[in-house]
């Protein structure tokens, strides 16, 4: 979904940053601060949350801040359903989640796939 959204704007993204972290080379406005805020929220790092939110507020405005928080929170919830119900991961994103992309991002190193037989394409 990240790659598709970048392609829609005629841009590329190194999707490996999703698992290894983005080093500032990604062409998305305020990406570093957004990722910092997401990580602090997931990890319940109170000081990190305050710092990232404070830095983002003048950049995104209140409405942008709210929508960013809403997305962070949405995926903090989505993963519980996917992982607890064990839904199939092949065919995610209407088939855009191809095996090559999982390998490139580093998803094949995640616990559920480590040592698993290759899924059907």
């Amino acid at each position: 979904m990240l790659r598709e959204s970048m392609h829609a704007g005629g841009k590329e993204v190194d999707v490996r940053g999703v698992t290894t972290g983005f080093d500032g080379g990604v062409d998305i406005a305020h990406a570093g601060l957004l990722v910092d805020w997401a990580e602090a929220t997931v990890l319940r790092d109170a000081a990190g949350i305050v710092a990232a939110r404070g830095a983002l507020r003048p950049l995104l405005g209140e409405a942008g801040l709210v929508d960013a928080a809403a997305v962070i929170a949405a995926f903090h919830g989505f993963v519980r359903i996917a992982d607890a119900i064990g839904i199939p991961y092949t065919g995610a994103a209407q088939g855009r989640d191809v095996p090559e992309l999982r390998a490139e991002v580093g998803i094949n190193d995640f616990y559920r796939l480590r040592g698993a037989a290759p899924p059907p394409a």
């Binding site: 957004l34 409405a63 949405a74 519980r80 996917a82 119900i85």
Partner: protein, 250 residues
């Protein structure tokens, strides 16, 4: 009581559809569900918040092999006959969701949970964690849990639910019946939409909230525009990073 309360000097205006969605979600959590009473659903919500301080969960999270850690979760003891299975389900899904397995799911069911109870509890976990993460990110005060409402669960199990593609039964779009009520916005629905489908009311409650947080289904694959106050790539970098932190393969 309004959905969001801030300390002085940290007030943030929140769009009405999101505020309304939170209000409705908390009310729904307090009502009798499909397999759980209102009191049980609120007790599940309390256990979700309580799990963050569980020392056994911390040991599991730190272990290389999550299923080889001996010990007991520090449950609140408020879930009655559901206690053993529900506490294991809640604590693991809250603290280490990326390292669950089908075998673990079967072990949780063997502790005395029905498939319907398992799915309904999973829906409450996803909703409470979504709402609490939102308030935490914005610095709002954590919402008090709702008062449980009296009444009996509906105990509706969809005739078309079958275990096939996932670890728990799903209702495929073509198997949904009128008795299930509205399930999917169209004839095609991604697996993430189908996850809670064996408990249709949980599916509806969950997506009424989630659509206001992320994007309603009709906008998900429209990559060249954004209905939110941040760009679509900004939305997706947040989504991807949060999912990766949880080792979610979906």
């Amino acid at each position: 009581m309004t959905a969001f309360q801030f300390e002085a000097g940290n007030s943030i205006a929140i769009r009405d559809d999101l505020t309304d969605a939170h209000e409705s979600a908390w009310v729904a959590i307090g009502k009798p569900g499909t397999w759980l009473t209102g009191a049980q659903r609120v007790a599940v919500a309390a256990e979700i918040r309580h799990a963050h301080g569980c020392a056994h969960c911390a040991r599991i999270k730190a272990a290389l092999s999550p299923n080889a850690v001996a010990g007991q979760h520090a449950g609140r003891g408020a879930l009655g006959t559901l206690e053993a299975g529900a506490v294991e389900l809640i604590h693991r899904v809250v603290s280490d969701p990326g390292r669950l397995s089908e075998r673990w799911t079967q072990e949780v069911l063997a502790l005395g949970l029905s498939e319907g109870e398992y799915v309904e509890i999973t829906g409450i976990i996803a909703m409470v964690m979504m709402m609490d993460a939102f308030t935490r990110a914005l610095g709002a005060t954590e919402r008090a849990l709702p008062a449980p409402q009296a009444g009996e669960p509906t105990r509706h199990w969809p005739a078309g639910a079958k275990k096939q593609a996932a670890w728990l039964p799903l209702v495929e779009p073509e198997d949904a019946t009128e008795a299930d009520g509205p399930l999917y916005p169209g004839p095609k629905a991604g697996y993430i939409y189908r996850g809670l489908s064996s408990v249709p009311q949980s599916l509806r409650d969950y997506w009424a909230l989630a659509n206001m947080h992320y994007l309603p289904g009709q906008f998900v694959y429209k990559f060249d525009s954004s209905i939110r106050a941040i760009s679509r790539p900004q939305v997706e970098i947040l989504a991807a990073r949060v999912s990766a932190l949880h080792q979610c393969v979906y």
